[in-house]
Symmetry: C2
Subunit: 216 residues, 2 copies
DNA sequence: ATAATTTTTTAGACCTGTCTAAAAAATTTA
DNA sequence: TAAATTTTTTAGACAGGTCTAAAAAATTAT
C-alpha cells in the first residue's frame, strides 16, 4: 500500500499540523532527522498520490486521504503502546521506540482485535487519545500546569514532552496520568511551582510545568 | 542490524536446510518468489557478513551466526502466531501472513516479555517448536500419518503443508493439533485412509496423510 | 566423450530513498 | 527597497534491492 517512509512522513506532517496550519519542509526534515532535499523529493511523491496538498515553497497540508492514513498509523502506534504497558508491563518511557516499528504492521483485522482484546482503550499510556477505526476521537482539551494560579487544581492527563528522560522524572515524582494535583505556591524568583500531589508536596520547575498537562 | 531482506533470506535458507544439507540458488529463489540473479547478489552480501558459507556454484549453508539470526526470527514468528491465535482468537490458517511482518520487530526485550506473558509456549499453532532465547528447542520427531499401518495410532502434532487451504480442511475434519487418531482401514485402490478421530470416522486421501504428522 | 539441458553467475539497468552542493525563491534586515 | 540571510528546490550521486538478458559452469542425456 504505502511504504514505511511514506507512512512516517504522513505521520510527521499530521503531528506538525497540530501546531501550524501549514507545515514547512524544514520542520519535516527536523522531525524525521533527515535533510530538506530528501523531504522535497518525498513531498512530490505524496502530492502525486494526492495524500498532501503541496505547492512548491508554500508548505504542505494533508488531504483527507492523507489524514486518514496518518490517523490509522497513530491509532496503531497508541494501541501498541497501550498493549506494551498494560499487558507486557513496560514502563511508559520504554514503549515509544517499539511502537514506532509496530505501527507499520499492516493488518486492519489485527489492530481491531487488539483493540477489542484491551477493551477499546481511549487513551495511550501518555494520555494521548486513540482514534477509532474510522479515525475519530474526541480531542481532550488540555492545558499546562504552568497556566494555573495558586490554589487551582486539576488532573494530570497528558504530557507535551514524550522523551524518556522527562517521563522517568515524572514517574519518580509520582506525577503520572490520572493523579490530582493542586498548586499550593508559585515561587516568584524563578516561577517554579509547589504542587500538592495526593499526600505529598512536590516542587517543579517552570519548564516541567509547561510540559505537564491537565484536563480543562 | 540486518535488513528485512537479509532476515528473510536467512530464514528461508534455514528452512530449506532442514531438507537438504546444502541449499541451492534456485531453491531460495523459489522460496522467496524472486529471481536466481537476485539471490546470487544477496548471497554475496550474506557471505561478506559471514552469515553463510558460500562458494559459487556450490550452494550455501548457514554459519553459526547466520543460524542464530534465523532461529531468532523463527522464534519471533512462532511466538507472534501463538499470540494471534491464543490471545486474539485468530484461526490457525489466518496468522502466517501477519507473523511474516511481526517477526521483524527488533526488540529482544519485547519478545521475551511476550514469551513470558503467554507462559513460555513450546509450540506454535501449527505444532512447530518455538526456540528459546538462545535458539534451543527440542526437535520433536514426527512422522506422517501415511507411514502408519492399520490399527496403529498417534497424536496429531504437526503439519507438513502450512497453506490456509490445507489448514482449513483439517479444521473442518477436526484433524487439529493434539487430537488422537487411529488408522482403521487403508483402501487399496488409492491408498486413502480411514481414521478414527475421537468419536468420529474420517476418510482422508494419501496426499493429506502425507502432510499430517503425528508424534513418534 | 560430446552434445543438450539446466543451473548459476555476471552485466547492465531501474526504482526507492537518501545524501551533498549549488541554484533559486522567499523572508528578514537595514 | 536593496542587501543579507534563510528556506526550499534542483542537480547529480550513491546504496540497497530488484529485474532481464546473456555468459559461464555444472549436470544429464546420448
Ligand atoms: Mn509514542
Ligand atoms: Mn504515546
Ligand atoms: Mn507461519
Ligand atoms: Mn507456524
Amino acid at each position: 500500500m504505502n511504504t514505511l517512509a511514506e507512512e512516517n512522513y504522513l505521520k510527521s506532517i499530521y503531528h506538525l499540523s497540530l501546531n501550524d496550519v501549514t507545515v514547512s519542509t524544514n520542520q519535516i526534515a527536523a522531525a524525521l532527522s533527515t535533510k530538506a532535499a530528501s523531504v522535497t523529493d518525498m513531498l512530490k511523491k505524496l502530492a502525486d498520490k494526492e495524500l498532501i496538498n503541496y505547492e512548491k515553497y508554500q508548505g504542505v497540508t494533508l488531504t483527507p486521504a492523507g489524514e486518514k492514513i496518518a490517523l490509522h498509523i497513530i491509532r496503531k502506534h497508541r494501541l501498541w503502546e497501550y498493549f506494551l504497558v498494560e499487558k507486557l508491563n513496560f514502563k511508559w518511557d520504554e514503549v515509544h521506540e517499539m511502537a514506532e516499528e509496530m505501527e507499520h504492521i499492516s493488518s486492519v483485522e489485527l489492530i481491531d482485535r487488539l483493540d477489542k482484546f484491551m477493551d477499546h482503550p481511549k487513551h495511550d499510556p501518555h494520555g494521548d487519545p486513540i482514534p477509532d477505526r474510522d479515525g475519530n476521537f474526541k480531542k481532550h482539551e488540555l492545558k499546562p500546569i504552568a497556566s494555573l494560579n495558586v490554589n487551582e487544581s486539576g488532573i494530570i492527563s497528558g504530557v507535551r514532552d514524550h522523551s524518556p528522560a522527562f517521563l522517568q522524572y515524572l514517574e519518580k515524582q509520582q506525577l503520572t496520568i490520572g493523579k490530582k494535583i493542586a498548586v499550593t505556591d508559585i515561587i516568584e524568583y524563578d516561577n517554579s511551582m509547589i504542587l500538592q500531589v495526593e499526600n505529598t508536596t512536590t516542587h517543579i520547575s517552570r519548564e516541567v510545568a509547561k510540559n505537564l498537562l491537565i484536563a480543562i
